[in-house]
Symmetry: C2
Subunit: 145 residues, 2 copies
DNA sequence: GTCCAGTTGCGACTGAGTCTCAGTATCTTG
DNA sequence: CAAGATACTGAGACTCAGTCGCAACTGGAC
């Protein structure tokens, strides 16, 4: 989760022009706890009559991904979605029930990656870890039924 | 990498009918070291005049994924690809240069996942780790230039 | 205020993946 | 081995995410 001010600040800092559509996008992305697709944003924009074009949303999302404000994730279903997050290296834990995404630090992963590199003979450059399960709330909700 | 016999055996064992198109598919998938897309297979099929339909390839690939003979991976570019592999839980290391995919065991990952679960309060059900880098051969090739 | 590169929205386009359906091939059972 | 039930197939229409080209617009530097 991230707030609109941060998004706008990052755009400004990244040398992007601060345009009305981008401000609008920032407000759409801000405060989201779960993952969202480009089309989710498009729907939201339409509902608020922001008049954003499809292409603009994709382009802005690319820019935000570039800046690390937003990250692409691949859901098990094969869909592409985004989560708002901070730029530092981290991994996402995604609730398969409500879609909420939480980020987690690396714990011992770098070591695991290094070991796998040694085992396979590869020079590992990047890695992507995605975890799926039930968040605390959905777990509680499920237990109480 | 996997051989055609294994693929066919798995299909048979999984309750699927052993049809000519599926045998053909098995021979296309067998022996591949790298990742491939559905369209790669379609091209290969056309080149060998196997007369496989587009839909058939997608359906067969789904079946193989179901059986664990093949696994969907998501390339950093956003493309969906497949790798042939064994059914046991494992992770893929993908060469960003030649596309070769090697599989690696879990090393300490289960522990990392458990720890992330504890940190975030999630009950982690599944995880997906994909590593990208340069394979030993590409590394050597690069060094010798 | 002027100016221009960066940006926008539109609509056409692409390409992956799905669906439908009539025809075909496989397996089972006798 | 024949026959029936049914799983499977290929063709093509279709959907939907994402991209592209372009004319119009605008943020912000001077
Ligand atoms: Zn949840
Ligand atoms: Zn990491
Ligand atoms: Zn390689
Ligand atoms: Zn694992």
């Amino acid at each position: 989760m991230v707030n609109a001010r941060d998004v706008i600040g990052a755009l400004e800092h990244g040398g992007y022009r601060l345009t009305a559509p981008r401000r609008a996008l920032a407000s759409l992305v801000a405060g989201r706890e779960g993952h969202f697709t480009a089309d989710d944003l498009l729907d939201a924009a339409r509902r608020r009559h922001l008049g954003l074009g499809r292409a603009t949303i994709f382009r802005a999302l690319d820019a935000l991904a570039e800046l690390g404000i937003v990250e692409r994730i691949d859901l098990p279903s094969g869909e592409h979605a985004f989560v708002a997050c901070e730029a530092a290296h981290h991994h996402h834990v995604v609730c398969s029930s409500c879609g909420r995404a939480t980020w987690a630090s690396d714990h011992g992963l770098e070591r695991v990656a290094a070991e796998i590199g040694r085992e396979t003979g590869y020079r590992i450059d990047t890695h992507r870890l995605e975890l799926f399960g039930l968040c605390a709330e959905c777990l509680a909700a499920k237990a109480s039924t």
